[in-house]
Amino acid sequence: MLKYLIRRLLASVPVLVIASLITFWLVRISVDPLAKFRRLRDSAQVIPKQRHLLGLDRPIIVQWWKWVTHFARGDMGISTRTQDPVSSMIARALWPTLQLLFWGTIFSVAVAIVLGVYSAVKQYSIGDYAFTGLSYLGIAMPDFWLGLLAIGLLVTGPKVWFHLNNPIFYSIGLHNEGVKGFNLDYIRHIVLPAFVLTASSVASWSRFERASMLEVLNSDYVRTARAKGVPRRQVIFKHALRNALIPFTTVTALDTAGLIAGVIIIEQIFSISGMGQAFLVALQTGDAQFLLAWFFFSAVAVIFVNLLADVLYVVLDPRIRFS
């Protein structure tokens, strides 16, 4: 397994190099790193100096090489907006996003598996049809709309209708002021953003799991197990589910990597100061250094999650070898 992991990591390097070059070029042509200096009254003197300081007078390939080698050493540059090291900004923004992704993924996977298995086992039942309809609704519903709907129905609504002193759930940030740690306050804050993140994933993943389960349930070995008198619960959860999870893992791994971009909307709606919010602010203010680091970080995250998926395959199916 270790050899396989090392091989995969080494194979990721050229992917990252190409991703970094494309990212660097795209950001350079889209965002002007000298924008904020152009408005200064002595811009005519400042801009040539800053152009040289930032290395913008060198060829783009030289600029890229300097950036990527510094990045590899942990130096992600200085934010043009705040003058803070980008690495500290990323570190500060990463933790809230990881929490959101963690809870969102856990709930999504758990609920999707439950719904998918139920729908497959009780195929064409009322429950199956109901979950199918809800799934299409979930897939079609945009995150920002679902988020605002959830806030309206689950935060503002109950407080107003039942004249509560406080809302049941909160929609700003992950904690009230002065509160830290994993506690009731945290749960009341994380539930809604995690739910919104979960909803669209559950919708598509449950459909996928349903299809995967149906295929496995109709296979010969499962029929044999039933014929041998293996209890139904054992057939479903011990024999069928495990095999049905293999393709499910592929989909969830790819989608989870994509969630990193998807949390932008959720963090904006729920005012969570994570990677998504930071990206939006950097985009609006033209913070080129931060954008470069953000895009590259996202590429690394996608590769890491796919690697994790490969490892999970072996856990789920011992027949798969890293050959």
Partner: protein
């Protein structure tokens, strides 16, 4: 058994969540009380939570990363002493000496402009060290010599050299003297507006920007400000403050940039007050109704949205065309569409905002109303004729141009959409091509690479004077390194003479007269066309009591030390 335990746990969790919602909170206050007036006693205690639309980039108020209005409202005016404050009195903004001064500074114009500040004997920093003349000296030197200063106006001359000195005859007296031959009519802005006074004993010898930018633990105002990056700014009372102590125990400004979510947070009681930007979605939310809320819409602000033709580009290089263009737009209809729901219906009729009414002719543009006959008369008189497509043409060139504004700004996009068919009907062909703020203000405008701009201009203090926007010397050229804010490329020597007087003449009556005359010339030349006054929108819940009133310069929270929470 396992399922029963799981079910019981789930039920217990749900009950505790609901119980927490029903139970008492750390934010005392009952709904349903009416807003207090300043005549009633404001209770002490409690925590006020306010939704803040923007997080500042830094706390270095002198540096280039400052300039955030929210940063000033939330933290700067609460912690940094100001020589002058812009306060509300009888519904008007008035300038008065800050609590750090014993009274109005002594001013003499001759032989050189000299201002003498008398510092309040009891004025101290939060560590107990007295606020002295040394702090004034330090601040002035920083403004004059530091690199990356946001706005050194008044401290340096047009060449960027120190224009004034600060001497200290005694610790509690600061004497500011300008260089012989120089003067600065806006001297009230020194050690005030967006700058303030900094503590020399804490910053001397240090990198000011590095020390301040991430926040600081000192204060010279009624509050301490703690910045939890990404989350909030928390104000707590400064016990060493020599003035009236705040009523509240704590004020929390929670960052919430999404408008719809901000309003939901207000309706659900997570925040007790909001101060949203005058955008279309804000107006929609207000129209939808806010139960148990108080609101104030103030059109008498310091910001005007206007149309800025490029005077050096066809077709706006012709005064007749600019005037005809002004008659082709129904400005009242635009304002009605944008802000009618807030009872803001009258267009702005001066390029000076309302708060500078004493230094402007607030009706100078009133003559420009929607009048297609006038358009025809002006255009035909200038030798234009309508082509088969209904668009004016002269010497084979059509009256076609492109408007540029900031992309993603729904209010501006709607303004453009309203204008386009109106102008078409009047014989003008306007295309829309918006861009990012950085590109617009950093590249297109200074280079004159545009036809017509739509953006706002505002003032951060009671500082009259449009010379930086309309004087010939303010046109960006190669000679001055493309600096200068006259990106309309407008030039009129008669206007120059008046506008320079407004900036430099120390006689206030002369400034007022000249400013009004300049307004009339700008209107006659159609240098730019004011559209709508951007209103301030202040919304607060029943829980909040005190003399709450919007302040177009210092923001809604200018007197938050006098606010309280209803018992």
């Amino acid at each position: 058994m396992g399922r029963r335990v799981f079910g019981a746990l789930a039920l217990l969790t749900a009950l505790s969540v609901v119980g927490a919602a029903c139970g008492s909170s750390s934010k005392p206050g009952a709904a349903g009380t009416t807003t207090n007036t300043s005549a009633q006693a404001v209770p002490n205690g409690g925590t006020l939570v306010i939704g803040a639309e923007e997080e500042p980039d830094c706390f270095d108020w002198l540096g280039g990363c400052s300039g955030s209005s929210w940063g000033t409202w939330m933290a700067q005016i609460e912690t940094v002493p100001y020589a002058f404050r812009d306060v509300m009195k009888d519904g008007q903004v008035v300038e008065e000496p800050g609590a750090v001064l014993t009274g109005m500074p002594t001013f003499t114009a001759t032989p050189v402009e000299t201002i003498t500040y008398h510092i309040t004997p009891a004025a101290v920093w939060s560590d107990g060290v007295p606020i002295t003349c040394t702090d004034f000296q330090y601040t002035a030197i920083q403004q004059q010599t530091s690199k990356d200063i946001y706005d050194p106006t008044g401290y340096v001359d047009s060449d960027g050299k120190a224009d004034l000195t600060v001497t200290c005859p005694d610790p509690k007296t600061a004497v500011v003297k300008y260089k012989a031959g120089d003067s600065f009519a806006g001297w009230h802005q020194l050690f005030a507006s967006a700058v303030g006074i900094l503590p020399a004993h804490l910053l001397q010898g240090k990198d000011r920007d590095k020390t301040l930018k991430d926040g600081y633990t000192w204060s010279g105002g009624p509050w301490f400000a703690k910045w939890n990056k990404g989350d909030d700014i928390v104000l707590t009372p400064n016990p060493k403050y020599w003035g009236a102590k705040p009523h509240l125990d704590k004020v929390v400004f929670k960052f919430e940039s999404d408008t719809a979510a901000e309003f939901q947070a207000f309706k659900s009681g997570q925040v007790d007050a909001i101060y949203p930007q005058p955008q279309l979605d804000v107006v929609s939310e207000i129209k939808a109704g806010l139960t148990g809320a108080h609101s104030q819409y103030n059109a008498k602000t310091g910001t005007i949205e206007a149309l800025w033709p490029n005077d050096q580009r066809f077709p706006f290089d012709s005064k007749a065309v600019r005037q005809a263009f002004a008659y082709a737009i129904d400005r009242a209809a635009i304002v009605q569409k944008l802000f009618g729901a807030l009872d803001v219906t009258a267009p702005a009729n001066s390029l000076n905002p309302y708060i500078l009414q004493d230094y402007s002719d607030q009706n100078s543009f009133a003559g420009y109303h929607y009048d297609l006959a006038k358009v025809t008369s002006l255009m035909t008189g200038a030798g234009w004729a309508k082509g088969p497509d209904g668009i004016w043409a002269k010497n084979g060139k059509r009256a076609a141009f492109t408007i540029v504004s900031t992309s993603g700004d729904k209010r501006r996009e709607l303004t453009e959409e309203i204008m386009q068919p109106e102008l078409k009907a009047a014989g003008f062909d306007m295309a829309i091509k918006n861009t990012t703020a950085d590109n617009l203000f950093g590249q297109l405008l200074p280079a004159g690479n545009y036809d017509l701009g739509l953006y706002a201009e505002g003032v951060t203090g009671l500082i009259p004077g449009l010379c930086s926007t309309f004087c010939t010397k303010s046109i960006p050229t190669k000679a001055n390194g493309s600096t200068g804010n006259n990106t309309s490329f407008y030039s009129n020597p008669a206007a120059d003479k008046l506008l320079i007087q407004v900036d430099n003449n120390l006689d206030d009556s002369v400034r007022r007269t000249d400013a009004k005359q300049a307004d009339d010339i700008l209107a006659s030349d159609m240098a730019a066309l004011p559209l709508d006054p951007l209103p301030d929108i202040a919304i607060w819940s029943d829980k909040v009591v005190g003399p709450i009133q919007d302040n177009p310069i210092e923001g809604m929270f200018w007197n938050i030390d006098q606010w309280g929470l209803a018992k």
